[in-house]
Subunit: 569 residues, 2 copies
């Protein structure tokens, strides 16, 4: 393997060498290791591309920093290089690469794409926030706050806030999205701003995260890649999702962290959104030894993308429709030979398989999908929009181990894949549910059935499920969207939860809906006396529309108030 | 077994039937079950006894509530009865009993023996505390606070405080005994008091625990008993140690909790001191499924009592001296046939054994101990005060499992016993070290060598070792007092720490001093980003004067700043 000393090529810390770096990268696409010298590098967007990013706003052109395209057997050794970005851009983009390793980088923004204020005072109707003008440069205009994101651009405060307790650095209990924070009322001077509030539950010194900016770029984006590894990467800031990996085969993250840049005085990390989205991938996705804290949305979500039928053009050709506005226009939703499944959207049952013959992207969020053989007439006679389609070839096994999931907005780990999922030996202090076994072809359209999920050896602290978010019915929430569950044919299958530790102030530790084959055994559940029960759930374990569930033996320490241990129907 | 319905005997909720209850108990000493009706009972001290309580102030007479003496095969079924006590007294005393079970009681004081204030304001030099006059009746006299403890008695604030964070209900990080709280400066009105402070690290709403009262009585005291079981007992308040068990053989605690009475608006539990002291017991001590939070000292301490030699009266008779002022005058420190060991106090090595022939308690903290055979002349020629003596017959095996150790002042579990110790499957958020393997014949004189300690399957949260107290060198601290360690003959032996989970903001997870045979393997250590490193320890694992240590494999998640993984000499 060829070793390329980038500093010898003029890529040295201190300035902006992005353009030159991209030129060198484009000239050496195979069998080489690029070695950075330690230090700070300014990365700026010199490349524009039209890319369809999953779970991200659709915009015509993405602004790219470092582009790795069509590379094979290449290693980028960062040597702890710090990549400093500015404004709306995507630091790393990998397209059509194979056998890649990126290791030893820090990604940060000097002007972060999310702002923070510190509570200096509050009343029943107002909250005063100090916003550090050096850390979060800002101004008031049109009656609201605008944040300087560099390059002369200003980004408007969206009004969306999350509160972290200063003492615990976790999302404030029973707060979440229901903080009751309102419009800017007045400037108090000294960079203190008074906002309307509705009987806010807060404390002087607490941190209020102020979201601004749009969700347009990821920190690291990869598409159409195979065997890609990310190691020892610290992502302090980015502009949207942290790592977005879509239509890739076999990906690993080891010692990748989303932690706040405490030296810069920040409590939030990442951008204004999720940590890792793994969309429509195959092979095995591994997340090992990673750490998350202070993200504005779920740390990890491994999912597919369901679409619906729109119209049969002939007996082998269906016009389909991408259903979520942030997931459309994918160049590779299907390829010839892919295993496509038809799903009845009301009971969410899989009713037929077909093999893709061709895929043609259309306009306005549609595409044409032809099959090698005509599906049964029974399928074709149905209302096409009552059918969801999922591409089972684009589903990944998932190994998630030895990670620390600190408090972030929303949930911890989301999975919706039929391939084996193993979530083990993690330490989790999520704000909402720690693990959400999702699945949906009616709202988010993030597919799909799970057939083999093992959740073992994890510790769930009493921060888990301390605030409410969508689908958060238990510390572990098996909560697919199934409008009309079929009791004889539950949606998820074979979920085994064992040898975990839960510390819980009487919030449900398990909710399972529409699951066939569920075990919850050899877990230890301690009652945490550090908070009161608050969750509406009335049982520690609640099963709904499940079959073949086996609960126990488990060890319970504490009396769990008046809560039922188990309820089900 | 005879069933005695106490309500049929006139012992009914509502009033004070202590005297009558003691009469009925004294009349039925064998083979019976006493059943309480649910409800509140006033327990008052009608019996006075001269009892030598370990780790407790020496006073001439103890005030006893319920006395169980010389009983055999007896069960007290509380049916959730709440025993309400007042002032200086000991609710339960068991003397010379065998095969006893106490189950289903709550022990509380309406006027607790420790007070709390809430921080309403603070400056660099003062703290204002609101003290609820209903929950903690008090007055100002002689320039300080006095608390009403009932019966016309008032108890003086000692000046000793601990601070709990309101949000976390844990002892404030890096606070502990170093809070910097001072004398009463002034009354601000409305039961708000201003105290001197030295740049206090605090927050409005935090709870400051104000210790008053002396350590004169335990919640439950047992001596000279065999096979005693405590089950489903909630100790909200007491006057000193929670449970003091001394010179007993085989004791179990199951679902015994020391939790604050939140309904009464309290954040602290127990009295002003430790949870459970198990002193000079034998057989097996079991603590299973118990919960602790808000104690003013260590939840559990299983130990012996070392004494020193004073003078040889003849070649078989040594006058010995109890060394700690709170551990003296024990009627049963030794009996004929007991295995007595001589310890050289400087290297703390065991140098000879002898069999006790007789034991005679003397005056002024001394006793005469004669042996069946004269110890070697080499022993007798030494300065007697350079020798410590321990009674190995009075050492207990210890099983500590499925417990939740919430934040209390000081450490979590202390052990100094040569019998097998198993601390497994506990959830621990101590303020200081979670587990202290102690041993000492120079300061506290709580003996002794450990020969077989297994610490497995526990979770140590990032609250552990967040403040400094004596001997807190690691989350697990093997820290005997050995003035001149002998490297060839370390003090402790055979300590196995495996399959635990540590969440740590760079504080040492293990410190071991003078240990032969130590394994630390298959543990998972996560770096907590919720706090900064603060502990002076510079390595995650530090070994000093140890032999045969085996560290690893362990799993580390996070980079642990610049801390060494392992250091040793």
């Amino acid at each position: 393997m060829k070793n390329i000393d980038l500093s010898a090529c003029g890529i040295r810390p201190g300035g902006d060498c992005t353009e030159e770096l991209n030129r060198i990268l484009a000239q050496n696409r195979e069998d080489c290791e690029f070695v950075f010298a330690p230090g700070d590098y300014r990365i700026t967007p010199h490349i524009q591309r039209d890319l369809a990013l999953s779970n991200t706003d659709v915009i015509p052109t993405r602004q790219l920093g470092i582009l790795l395209e069509g590379m094979k057997n290449v290693r980028l050794t960062g040597s702890s290089a710090r990549l400093l970005c500015e404004g709306r851009m995507q630091p790393f983009t990998l397209l059509g690469c194979e056998n890649m390793t990126l290791t030893g980088f820090t990604i940060d923004w000097e002007k972060p794409m999310v702002a923070e204020g510190i509570v200096t005072a509050f009343t029943d109707t107002s909250i005063d926030l100090y916003i550090d003008p050096a850390a979060f440069p800002h101004r008031v205009e049109d009656g609201t706050l605008w944040f300087d994101i560099g390059g002369g651009e200003w980004s408007r405060f969206t009004g969306w806030t999350i509160q972290f307790d200063a003492v615990t650095r976790t999302v404030r209990r029973m707060s979440g999205d229901r903080f009751g924070f309102g419009a800017l009322l007045s400037e108090c001077g000294g960079h203190v701003y008074r906002f309307a509030a509705n009987r806010p539950d807060t404390a002087v010194g607490n941190i209020v995260v102020l979201r601004h900016n749009e969700r347009e770029h990821a920190g690291i984006f990869a598409e159409d890649c195979r065997n890609i590894a990310f190691e020892h990467i610290d992502i302090h800031s980015c502009g949207g999702l942290g790592c977005l990996i879509q239509f890739c085969d076999t990906v690993s993250f080891r010692a990748v962290s989303f932690l706040p840049n405490r030296e810069a005085g920040r409590f939030v990390s990442g951008g204004r959104d999720d940590g890792m989205h793994v969309t429509c991938c195959s092979g095995t996705v591994t997340v090992d030894g990673c750490s998350f804290l202070g993200l504005m949305d779920d740390p990890i979500n491994v999912h597919g993308c369901c679409v619906t039928g729109a119209e049969w053009l002939d007996e082998r050709t269906l016009c389909c429709r991408f259903m979520h506005e942030q997931a459309r226009g994918f160049r590779r939703w299907a390829e010839a030979g892919d295993d496509i499944v038809f799903i009845d959207r009301r009971p969410m049952t899989q009713i037929a398989h077909a093999v893709a013959a061709s895929y043609t992207l259309g306009e306005d969020g549609t595409f044409l999908l032809s099959f090698t053989e005509a599906p049964d007439e029974e399928i074709r006679r149905r209302d096409p929009s009552s059918l969801a389609l999922d591409n089972l070839t684009h589903t990944a096994a998932f190994v998630c181990e030895n990670n620390r999931f600190g408090s972030c907005r929303a949930r911890g780990v989301l999975v919706s894949t039929p391939k084996p999922v193993c979530i083990r030996n993690n330490y989790i202090e999520s704000s909402g549910s720690a693990i959400l076994v999702a699945g949906d072809a009616n709202g988010w359209f993030e597919s799909g059935e799970c057939h083999d999920v093992e959740i073992a050896g994890n510790v769930f602290t009493d921060s888990c499920l301390s605030s409410m978010y969508q689908f958060c019915e238990g510390v572990i929430s098996v909560c697919p969207v199934v409008p009309e569950p079929d009791r004889e044919h539950p949606f998820h299958k074979n979920i085994r939860i064992h040898d975990n530790v839960f510390d819980s102030p009487d919030v449900p530790v398990l909710y399972a809906f529409s699951c066939d084959g569920l075990t919850f055994s050899d877990n230890r559940i301690y009652q945490s006396p550090r908070a009161e029960k608050w969750h509406p759930g009335k049982a520690m374990i609640r099963l709904e529309s499940c079959r073949n569930a086996m609960i126990g033996p488990n060890t319970w320490t504490g009396d769990f108030g008046g809560m039922q241990r188990i309820s089900g129907d």
